[in-house]
Symmetry: C2
């Protein structure tokens, strides 16, 4: 494996502060720390979040991911003037996030308005090895003369979620000359957060502490000689207890002891152990491409880096939010993005993590059952937006219409029910990829049955067929329709799989079996028309078509809503994102290539791609349909959703699903990995730009490495594994090469077609 | 009357942003709006406060003056770059607060980093005529070429009190093209605040609105030609309802109608009516000096300006906070500063306002009675820190000791009881100055009796005399002492005056009369020693003396506490502020000049003046003792507490009492105005620097104008008035001149000595 690349920020620009603060977020699944600069800027949003730490700030407010007191900020005074890049001149600049180690580094030379130059270097990382650990170093060197350097830092609890305060300040303390600790409690009294930080400035002549107005600070001043490098080392330990068994005091003291042990290790040793952890992680996950365009590899490394830092695999009571832990968009809530866009990466590289994500839903079944019951249905209706409790977090009303003063009901939580089948779909995928019967016989079957029961109760009999009315499919520009194809097919699949598992596990609830069979017999699944087009719903095809080119050119900006009301958009053939195309992606075995292509060709021109979830899926389906060039265009565009030129592409957090989609596009698109009837298929179709594509893949407990080039597919596996390559069933062990015309060569070990084998 | 002067900010300096934001606060007693700049700075604290609007933000928090959503902020983008004075070059700068009109103006020319220059002019005022009205104008002119100008402004509810959020966002609305309204509710649900704002940018080509993350904004963009002045007019109306009789909707609509009416009037007409109001106000209050130092007049105009804007004379449920409405220091709480330092100005210029301030205490008697009862005493023990309810707002514990983790009990609320007598003292002053028997027979006598009863219950009999134990006098560096002279004398005076009024009003509570007589007979009042020195308390004189010169050189900074613990300071002859000297100021008739001088000479060297309340009182006492030069030095130093060079002199709000003290120093010091046995005395002693001192004075309902120079004292009064001038009792009507050797000349009307008269 070559080393993962760097993400660099080309220049300091006040307009893109928050974009890069999101893109370069440090984290480890437990916590995420936005890459705000040490120095403050008026437009810069700082952020530190713990996965699963949600709180409601007041009446009428929404439960949201709590923005914690800040430890990143450092006020640097150089000869009495506060350092800020909005003044003076930046004479050198380099900032990079090293995906290999998770270290963020900045080095710059700054000419102060007074003329004297200073070198400012900083680096920081969130430990991959010790979840609560965050370490940083800031070094200041006067280049043109002796200088007085003031460095103030500590814990700043004036931070809010855009003005909403979640935390009471329970205690602030200073120990010795270097240790500061603040304990904060959510205002509902349910969570304590202990933030301890060790701060040391070498050569500090004067040091004092202040605790005022929610800021606990250490102030240092140094008289530095020309060329003298003055370094702040700051090591922080962020603990969270939602149900403490220890007294506050004991718990806080433990936290402090942990910090002290880290401080003794020092920045470099802590970084080394974290880098080693990252190295091992990349070994079994990195996707490598040889591409005409270097940025393709960057996109993949970026995606995988974030797929790690956003995922709380330490805690199955948490799942992945739509912005990961990089910002406050969507209030930090969990959507179907997790199961459909993010879980597959984990499933094919570290299935334990996928299991943990599914157990998150399982733990939260009671909220889902309650939501179904409250709406008159059975089984489990998972919340559209989910936080820690599993209750529906979608606000009943959307943001107020500032024109009418009226609040609009949020339709998604009411009708975007496909999420239920998407979770079941992920359970089935998990089963196929792992064969984990332990899970299936407990959590898996429960999730399948409860979701199936929901659909059975949800359908209505109309003219001798069961229909599903008043839903919203993935395409949110078409609301409250009957028989959305995506929903009906996924519901059918959900019930079918549940029934299959119920039988396999000897589940003897005859009523369920009978009702499921009845459902499967009678549920209407929209049929393809003669041209192969599957109607998106009962009325879609009868709506007028308009020219969407200008809106497609600004995909993601929802500019159509400037010209048309939502109600008007609803009455035209306009898709926000893949819907039928999404369905052909989800259930590849159910649609032949002609149908896939017909629907791609029909629906794509009608799709604005205003959702970040859209292009990647189109890219995969295009690649699967043999058009890997169109697939590549979509994949590229999808990979630029956050990484592109827009300085505000991801101010309030990256599009987490888009990182999953970058992986999906490469693996399920260009490598053609897919699962049909429970079996693994590979059908590579590299785009012209790519010469090789190499990635690890975990299937049924076996770790493979797959390397694809224009001539052949190489598969190496320590254990024997059976899979389909380009329609040919083969079994490999060791290293094998398969050419596109079906010739299999064993480099070492064995490789046989199933014909040979049987 | 000449026109009040300007306060100018000499240059833009990031370090003194908050000092000038406090000094130049706009207000009208109903609201105060800090003079933050339109553009944002990281260190700039914005603030808008309504007198009496307090709220507690969470458990363990203190009830505090709520910092309201901001309407001052304007983001100006010039050719896409956000305007900020930390970048580019300031080529011209002028900023001034016009005390005559209450208008704050800034004009500057800014060279953007790209090289193009822009003129930026802004002006604003809080209406003296319409309490909820705040108007501003911002004009941008590109000087060196056509430019695109973006102007975004509205209502920003992300504002907190240093991270503490008090308000829920109840509703945000936009009406038409110019009106925005946000309704906010304190989290305890008791107060609604409606902020409506009219925003218009002339020539705006594009205008849109956003409501996101507690910000309701109007965004304008203009393509401006070179030299084209693009002006934002923004008029805001800030309403507060604590017990609404109207529905929220009706109330909010009314608020909007008021704003619309103002918007129709326009900035200039609104300013004209406010300026007229200010003009009339200054007419009957302005103190004019001819001084060698121009800044003396500035200090006086500054003081009076703030004495107006801090005083909620529209609402007797509110009083004046220690920082007025200029910042969040002391959480916006009311102390004894109000009655002793601030009320006299009002009493001698607009007694109705003094009455309103006393009625604030009267309304809050139940909290004071409750506090006394809870502590085992009778009568009324007013809270040391007071907000709207009249309950004790002093936190039980002070800020945590960050070293020990322990919280220290706040001693002031437990023992700084002289406040009770100070309030009674103010009641008696009010009576003397107004003869308002209506007030005295109801509120006045109640306040006197309740405070007297407190003292009677508070004293303990020791060896046949009543003593008052365990108090803190005004000198807070000497805690928990017995028989603090200030306290005992003031308590005696309190009871004596209460008894006198009880008798005069035929009050027949024999028990009280008997107990009061007993108290007056037996209360120990420390006696002057042979050298005239009055012991500050039972033990003070036995404590060691140390050299305080280095601490006195840094008066106000409390540097002594860096070298000594509070407990150690307590055991030395160290005063934070005037104590016995303060007593001679408070009760001038009880101490002969020799005693005053002896105590000034003894105590001043032992006083660090770490309280802003100290120097002014020393100045007055020095002037009264005939040393007007020392008096002038103290007065000058006192006047520089906020106006001096320290860039952080008043970041969290001005020292309100110090503004009162500037007036007191001039009027009670150099003009020698004082009241003895209920009669008005004048004994001028102008410092060498001053040639004339002229001021209006209201006494017993008669408005006088007094003008003092080195040769004579001129008094003009439309009605006949009796007073003592330099020890001579005279009666004047019309305009009279009195020389320092007692020759009285009537310029018109009559002037007689009482001897002639009788």
């Amino acid at each position: 494996m070559t080393k993962p690349v760097m993400l660099t920020e080309p220049a300091f620009c006040p307009h893109s502060l928050n974009k890069y603060a999101s893109l370069m977020t440090l984290g480890n699944g437990y916590m995420g720390i936005r890459a705000s600069h040490e120095e403050a800027y008026t437009l810069q949003t700082r952020g530190m979040y713990l996965a699963g730490l949600y709180h409601r700030a007041g009446k009428g407010e929404i439960n949201e991911l709590v923005n914690l007191p800040d430890v990143v900020g450092v006020e640097i005074a150089l000869n009495g003037e506060i350092f800020s890049l909005t003044s003076g001149v930046i004479e050198r600049w380099h900032r990079e996030l090293d995906f290999a180690s998770g270290e963020l580094r900045r080095t710059l030379v700054w000419r102060a308005p007074g003329g004297a130059r200073f070198a400012i270097e900083s680096r920081r990382f969130v430990s991959a090895q010790k979840l609560p650990l965050f370490a940083m170093e800031v070094a200041v060197t006067p280049l043109d003369g002796d200088a007085s350097i003031g460095i103030s830092t500590g814990i700043d609890a004036t931070i809010t979620n855009h003005g909403r305060q979640h935390l009471d300040e329970t205690q602030v303390r200073v120990f010795g000359q270097h240790l500061l600790q603040g304990i904060y409690t959510t205002q509902d009294n349910r969570n304590d957060i202990a933030i301890a930080t060790f701060c040391d400035v070498d050569g500090a002549a004067q040091r004092c502490f202040t605790a005022k107005e929610r800021r606990l600070l250490q102030h240092n001043s140094v008289q530095a000689k020309t060329g003298q490098r003055v370094t702040l080392t700051k090591i922080s330990w962020i603990d969270w207890a939602s149900e403490r068994s220890l007294s506050l005091e004991t718990w806080a003291r433990q936290s402090l002891r942990n910090l002290e042990a880290c401080a003794r290790q020092g920045y470099d040793a802590l970084l080394a152990e974290s880098t080693a952890n990252w190295h091992a992680w990349w070994q079994s996950r990195r996707v490598q491409v040889t591409s005409n365009d270097m940025s393709d590899q960057r996109a993949l490394d970026y995606a995988l880096y974030h797929l790690r830092v956003m995922t709380p695999d330490h805690d199955e009571r948490s799942s992945i939010a739509a912005k990961g832990l990089t910002g406050e968009g969507y209030k930090g809530h969990v959507f179907w993005d997790t199961e459909v866009f993010l879980l597959p990466f984990h499933l094919f590289t570290e299935p334990k993590t996928a299991r943990s994500l599914l157990r998150y839903r399982w733990h939260n079944l009671s909220g889902a059952r309650e939501k179904a019951r409250r709406n008159g249905w059975q089984g489990a209706l998972f919340p559209w937006e989910s936080a820690r409790s599993g209750e529906e977090e979608t606000p009943e009303f959307a943001a107020i219409n500032i024109r009418t003063g009226l609040r609009q009901k949020v339709a998604s939580a009411q009708a975007e029910h496909h999420l239920v089948a998407d979770i079941a779909w992920a359970v089935i995928n998990y089963w196929h990829a792992t064969g984990d019967m332990n899970f299936m016989s407990r959590e898996g079957i429960t999730l399948l049955l409860e979701t199936a029961k929901f659909w059975i109760s949800r359908a209505v009999m109309v003219n001798d067929r069961l229909e599903i009315h008043n839903v919203i499919g993935p395409d949110e520009y078409t609301e409250h329709v009957n028989n959305n194809a995506f929903t009906n097919y996924m519901a059918w699949y959900n019930v079918e799989q549940a029934l299959g598992f119920a039988r396999r596990l000897g589940f003897s609830d005859e009523t369920f079996i009978h009702r499921a069979e009845h459902f499967l017999r009678h549920l209407w699944r929209p049929e393809a028309l003669s041209d192969g087009v599957l109607p998106q719903d009962d009325t879609f095809l009868s709506k007028p078509v308009i020219d969407l080119s200008s809106y497609k050119a600004k995909a993601g900006k929802q500019t159509i809503l400037l010209d048309y009301s939502r109600a008007e958009v609803n009455e035209m053939q306009i898709l926000k994102q893949a819907d039928v195309v999404m369905l052909t992606y989800m259930l590849p075995e159910q649609f032949n290539p002609q149908t896939c292509l017909a629907n791609l060709r029909f629906y794509e021109p009608r799709t604005i791609h205003d959702s970040s979830l859209s292009k990647a899926i189109h890219g995969i389906v295009a690649a699967r349909c043999g058009d890997s060039e169109q697939g590549y265009r979509f994949w590229r565009e999808g990979s630029l959703i956050d990484l592109g030129d827009d300085p505000h592409s991801c101010d309030d957090g990256i599009h987490a699903a888009a990182t999953g989609a970058i992986w999906l596009g490469a693996i399920q698109g260009f490598a053609g990995v897919n699962v049909r009837h429970g079996e693994l298929h590979l059908a590579p179709a590299l785009p012209d730009h790519w010469q090789t594509l190499s990635f690890p893949l975990c299937w049924q407990g076996v770790d493979m490495q797959v390397t694809i080039n224009k001539a052949e597919i190489r598969i190496s596996s320590t254990e024997r594994i059976t899979l389909w390559v380009n329609g040919e069933k083969i079994a490999v062990q060791g290293a094998s090469a398969i050419t596109y015309d079906g010739i299999i060569t064993s480099i070492y070990g064995t490789a046989t077609t199933k014909r040979d084998d049987e």
